[in-house]
């Protein structure tokens, strides 16, 4: 490929990268006719505020082959429970083989969410004889079609009305007919809490029922929510909880961005001061590197596994800046050596890239191995760090051998670029 072609390609790449990287890129895309791009940096809860809850599922009574199914059931029920509260972007996922992690961004009342998620919500219908002896029946929570909370228009009391499934209407009619004939009572229990305990004035044949006696409408609403979402297939318990206030998250991201910017600018200044013209090339490559990395983070959002940027992730990204600069430093030091040994700038530059490559490759592979092992460790905070560091290392290798090289090839053809003094090489040190 000709050098000018390469430069044009890089210029095109730069335009695309900038378009993707700027914060309000969706505005530009919709102006261009591309609608509904969901490109955005996914921020972790430590940066945007929210709660991360990890639950341990009790699988001791589940056979080995049903374990995965039970976990899926737990995720499904939790999803129904939390998503009906109107909280946006709740993520419920497995964490290891027997744990479920719930990510609640920006939730104000974490305790309410905890109360809601942790309940088993086992609904039982019991038949109580006139003597007061309760007996189990064949009607349970799975027979319920839906439940709604409301205010009784007659007495202003909160109520929950429910509707049985079509298939269970007959079962429920038989049960109520039986209780009515015996003169007994119907007892409805949700996780050992009685929801209804009373006589049945007439058999219920339409599968509709109503329960009252709730403390307030909020409790009634919670109850109807639990009834609608169904019972958890296995009991779960909260084993880990991390909550970060929105203000703290905001502060963390602002300070990190500021620190990152200062760090980046300081590195650019150092590189230019030390390597002069080559430093300028490294600075340009570093800017490209930063843009590519941000774009990868944003583009991952439309894939199956979006990269969530956490505080540890930012640290990984920052550290990879160091690695990105290292590739350039390795090349430039090598290039200086070659020029000092008597090569022309152009020849020295070529040799510099060639000779530095094994060092860049070997050292970066060892970092990638570390990243892989960090990722396998499975500790969430560590995984976030490993992912961004690995991406940074890969992108930095790419920018060093393509973008830096193309820029350098262009630079050495210019008049200033062909002079050793432009790279802070003193004439008298050249052999």
């Amino acid at each position: 490929m000709k050098l000018t072609t390469k430069l044009y390609l890089i210029a095109t790449l730069l335009v695309v990268l900038v378009l993707l990287a700027i914060p309000r890129e969706d505005k530009i895309f919709s102006a261009l006719g591309i609608k509904d791009t969901s490109l955005k940096l996914r921020l972790g809860l430590d940066l945007q505020g929210g709660a991360s809850l990890t639950y341990q599922a009790d699988l001791s009574k589940v056979s080995t082959q049903d374990k995965a199914k039970a976990i899926d059931g737990v995720i499904n029920v939790i999803n129904k429970r939390v998503n009906s509260t109107g909280t946006s972007e709740v993520v419920v996922q497995t964490s290891g083989s027997d744990r479920v992690n719930v990510q609640l961004p920006g939730v104000n009342d974490v305790d309410q969410a905890i109360g809601l998620i942790g309940k088993t919500a086992q609904l039982q219908f019991l038949s109580v004889s006139p003597e007061g002896i309760p007996a189990a029946t064949d009607v349970n929570g799975e027979d319920l079609e839906s439940a709604t909370a409301d205010i009784d228009t007659q007495n202003g009391q909160p109520i929950v009305s429910f509707q049985m499934k079509g298939s269970a209407t007959q079962k429920f009619a038989d049960l109520t007919k039986n209780i009515n004939r015996q003169g007994g009572r119907l007892l409805i229990i949700l996780d050992n809490e009685p929801l209804f305990n009373g006589t049945v004035s007439s058999p219920i044949t339409d599968g509709k029922g109503q329960m009252s006696g709730f403390k307030d409408l909020k409790v009634a609403k919670e109850t109807s929510l639990l009834l609608n979402a169904g019972a958890l297939p296995v009991p779960i318990s909260l084993v880990e909880q991390r909550t970060v206030g929105a203000t703290l998250g905001q502060e963390s991201i602002q300070r990190s961005l500021f620190a990152g910017l200062i760090g980046l600018v300081a590195v650019l200044v150092f590189m230019i001061a030390y390597y002069r013209l080559a430093g300028l090339v490294a600075a340009a490559a570093l800017v490209m590197y930063t843009l590519i990395t941000i774009d990868i983070f944003k583009l991952s959002g439309i894939t199956q596994s979006p990269i969530v940027l956490t505080l540890a992730g930012i640290a990984g990204f920052i550290l990879s800046i160091g690695m990105a600069v290292d590739a350039n430093i390795l090349i430039f030091e090598r290039m200086k050596e070659e020029i000092r040994a008597g090569s022309s700038v152009a020849v020295g530059m070529d040799a510099g890239f060639k000779r530095a490559w094994t060092s860049i490759r070997d050292s970066n592979i060892s970092t990638l191995i570390t990243c892989l092992i960090l990722y396998i460790s499975g500790i969430p905070v560590i995984k976030g760090f490993a992912v961004t560091l690995a991406i940074g290392v890969l992108v930095s290798m790419f920018t060093a051998i393509t973008i830096s090289k193309t820029f350098m090839q262009a630079v050495v053809r210019t008049k200033i670029g062909s002079k050793p003094s432009s790279y802070r090489i003193k004439e008298e040190t050249i052999q």
Partner: protein, 303 residues
């Protein structure tokens, strides 16, 4: 600069730097945070002092309370919620009680973490396994990457000496945190493990660059091994220092301006990377010479 020739001085400096921390590590150990022990941790902002906050939390009846500052007039409280009387209620109840007390004193909770014993056990196991696996993988990788090294050095000696340099850096960071933990109550968390592993990665990264040059020079120059190592270190010196300077610049920016919650993480990285730069220049490669001389001596003794 004759680095290899003065290697005894460099080794001495290393021992002097690493020894106090290592002793601290064995005598006092690290202060494990809730990631490893389980328990609860909350950050509080508002008008209060460390002892006041300690007393507020103590009222609830939890054990092992520690209060530390967290910059920006915030305080961090950690306590154990395990093995308490049933009357205190479960972890969730304890948290509620503390929160009520805080609200009465018009203090606000800015963040809260609770880690159960099962989770902390897993984190501890993964952390130990991670460090061990990373070291092993690096040793194997270096031996593989340097498999074609011309004599007199064996590929394994590259791996082994790189591991010694890596242990030097890990011990240095661990030691400093043992000292910080003893005197300032600084605790280590899952992020600290990341820092250690990153330091290990960086140390090896740095060492490999020098080794790479040694291998190249072994092919090119016809000189004694000791001299080749010294030439190689000098040739890569500017690169080692400049790379470390850029990483240190970025980390320093983060240490000074970044958020409080990653301050000690950044500090661990800073210390480790400075140590890593030193060890790759002054320890790893001179050790190759020591190892090589020892092998020659042994071979002669056998004859």
């Amino acid at each position: 600069m004759n680095i290899v020739g003065k290697r005894k001085i460099w080794f001495m400096i290393s021992i002097l730097l690493v020894l106090p921390g290592t002793i601290a590590l064995f005598v006092w150990g690290l202060k494990p945070g809730i990631d490893f022990t389980g328990g609860q941790e909350l950050e509080v902002s508002g008008q209060t002092t460390q002892s006041q906050l300690h007393d507020i939390v103590a009222k609830v009846g939890v054990k092992d309370i520690t209060v530390t500052t967290s910059g920006n007039d915030r305080l961090l409280v950690r306590y154990s919620d395990q093995g308490l009387d049933k009357e205190l209620g479960d972890s969730q109840q304890i948290r509620q009680n503390i929160r009520t007390l805080l609200t009465q004193q018009s203090l606000t909770e800015t963040s809260f973490s609770s880690v159960g014993p099962a989770v902390s056990r897993d984190v501890t196991r993964s952390a130990i396994l991670g460090v061990a696996m990373a070291s092993l993988a690096i040793l194997l990788y270096i031996a593989f990457a340097f498999r074609n090294t011309p004599p007199p050095v064996s590929p394994w000696s590259f791996g082994a000496t790189a591991i010694i340099a890596l242990l030097h850096d890990a011990l240095f960071v661990l030691g400093i945190f043992a000292i910080l933990g003893h005197f300032f109550g600084v605790q280590v968390d899952a992020l600290f493990v990341t820092a250690i592993l990153t330091v290990i990665g960086f140390s090896v990264h740095d060492t490999i660059v020098v080794y790479d040059r040694i291998r190249e020079n072994l092919r090119r120059l016809n000189k004694p091994f000791e001299e080749i190592v010294n030439i190689s270190i000098n040739e890569t010196l500017a690169r080692s220092l400049n790379t470390s300077i850029t990483v240190i610049i970025v980390l320093l920016a983060f240490y000074l301006f970044g958020g409080e919650s990653i301050k000690y993480f950044i500090l661990a990285l800073l210390i480790g990377i400075i140590s890593g730069t030193y060890s790759s220049i002054f320890n790893a490669s001179p050790l190759l010479v020591v190892y090589n001389n020892w092998k020659i001596k042994k071979a002669k003794a056998v004859k």
